[in-house]
Amino acid sequence: MLKVALLAALTVFICYGGNWLFGQTMIERPLVVGMVTGFIMGDLHTGIIMGASLEAIFMGAVDIGGALSAEPVTATVLATTFSIIMNVNQKAALALAVPIGVFAAFISMFLKNVVMNIFVPIINKQARENNQKGLTFTHFFMWFLNYFIFSLVTFFGVLEGAQPVQALIKEIPDNLMAGLSATGGLLPAVGFAILMRMLWSKELSPYYFLGFVMVAYLNLPSIAVAVIGVIIVILNAYRDRQLLQIENNQKKVSVVNTEDSLANSEDKEEEDFFE
């Protein structure tokens, strides 16, 4: 069991750490993680199939602005391992993946956002001293430390989890299980809210709802929404450019005509009404 635990932890380290060290190439997604786990645990076929199921389940588990709703690597590795090695029923393993993912997401965020704060003064110091070697080392050391610690979750998860997990599945009340699953469905909202904070403006907010309706009521896939979006944006840009030129021309003219100062104050009033 120790060997399995080690291998599982290693898989997490490779897939999760690797993903973030090498350009977020999405090798952290269940599709890939499932395959890798299957390969390492000696049942590639099961790994691929479970990866497919988990990818669908974790479709909404996006990592945006550092907020993630569920951490897919740990979830996939544990679920797949349980299924291959410990003969946990495949459906039960899938059901377990969501709460594991939500739990792992919290640990990951705690590590990255809170624990790793201890390096802040070090980095500041190294920068002040132009210690470039040091900065490079710190960067990679932080990476190693973070993902090493994080892999321990999986290590102990497998080591200690073998039996309890089986028991747990039977014991966790259905309601709690349903609640944990629901978190996986609702948490992506936070990531999107972070993005919205960056982009939201009253003037453009209708487009948010337009995008929503296009999926909710017209069932458009994201590529179609994107293409329509680009179309809208280009058409708007031409219009905006035309108006910008008119306004720029107007500004030049108004330099000549001085009574404009008066005009502006009137415009203000109107604007207030619409805000």
């Binding site: 999405m26 395959m35 990818e55 909404g60 602005g65 900065l135 907010s205 995008g211 979006g229």
Partner: protein, 274 residues
């Protein structure tokens, strides 16, 4: 291709180096105050070394970039290229204001992440996963492989060209379009597309299904969810997302929001609502 034409050989070498280093940019995350500053510093180092010969100047430049950094990474290379061009300018011109480098960098984070995350997390990944899942579900190893190819080819190309684009367009360009008002247009275009995509992601990826139902004396019980869908499809996901946004806009810390949603979901579960 066109973009790399007017760049000197040494600058090319530097930009390629930045391009490669940028892959590690999110390797470390230094908490809520610096985020990916270490990765950014590591990525931009070749530019600092190239344009500042003096250790003090280098130290100053490095310190400058210890501030919060976070942009969708394969789009962030645009900022890296841009910063490289501004550091160059700063090293050449006496009266250049170095603060403007950080200011511009910071101001681009929002729009670039908005559009970047929408396109890469929201469109490209979803398409790639769609293809991948249907193959993998039949047990074919082509599933994960095609998934990686479909996602990464455009992703890495974007990363590469934007490095050069940021550098060649340079800061003068950025200032120009700011002044002429075109920047507003660009930001508007990016935000429009971003919001549209986030709206669509809200509808497709935020999931809520109530299992509440009303018992009917004779006949099968009536699912509440059916009626909520009749009122407005995806109402709860929409409200939850708007609620999170509202909290964030009121400066509530994101961790509290996360916790709140967690508690909400589990409570609903315990109450038998979901």
């Amino acid at each position: 291709m066109k973009l790399t034409k007017d760049v000197s050989k040494e600058d090319k070498k530097m930009l390629n180096s930045i391009f490669w280093r940028s892959f590690t940019v999110f390797g470390s995350r230094a908490g809520a105050s610096m985020a990916h500053a270490p990765g950014f510093i590591y990525s931009i180092m070749p530019a600092i070394r190239r344009y500042y010969k003096n250790p003090e100047d280098q130290a100053e430049a490095l310190s400058r970039h210890t501030t919060w950094y976070n942009i969708t990474q394969n789009v962030g290379t645009f900022v890296m290229g841009l910063v490289a061009s501004m550091e160059k300018k700063n090293s050449e011109e006496k009266d250049f204001d170095p603060d403007s480098i950080v200011a511009l960098k910071t101001s681009l984070m929002g729009p670039l992440s908005g559009i970047g995350d929408s396109i890469f997390w929201g469109v490209l990944r979803v398409i790639a996963a769609g293809v991948g899942i249907s193959l993998a579900a039949q047990g074919s190893i082509l599933g994960p492989i095609l998934f990686l190819i479909i996602y990464n080819v455009p992703s890495i190309l974007t990363r590469y060209y934007l490095t050069y684009m940021g550098f060649t367009l340079g800061s003068t360009f950025i200032e120009n379009i700011y002044e002429s008002g075109s920047m507003k247009l660009l930001t508007k275009a990016a935000s429009t597309l971003g919001l549209l995509m986030i709206g669509s992601m809200t509808a497709s990826m935020v999931i809520f299904k109530s299992k509440l139902s009303i018992p009917i004396s004779d006949g099968k019980p009536i699912l509440i969810q059916t009626y909520m869908d009749q009122l407005f499809k995806g109402l709860i996901p929409l409200l939850v997302t708007l609620g999170c946004y509202w909290l964030l806009s009121k400066k509530v810390n994101v961790n509290w929001v996360l916790l709140g949603v967690l508690v909400l979901a589990i409570t609903l579960g315990l109450l038998g609502v979901v």
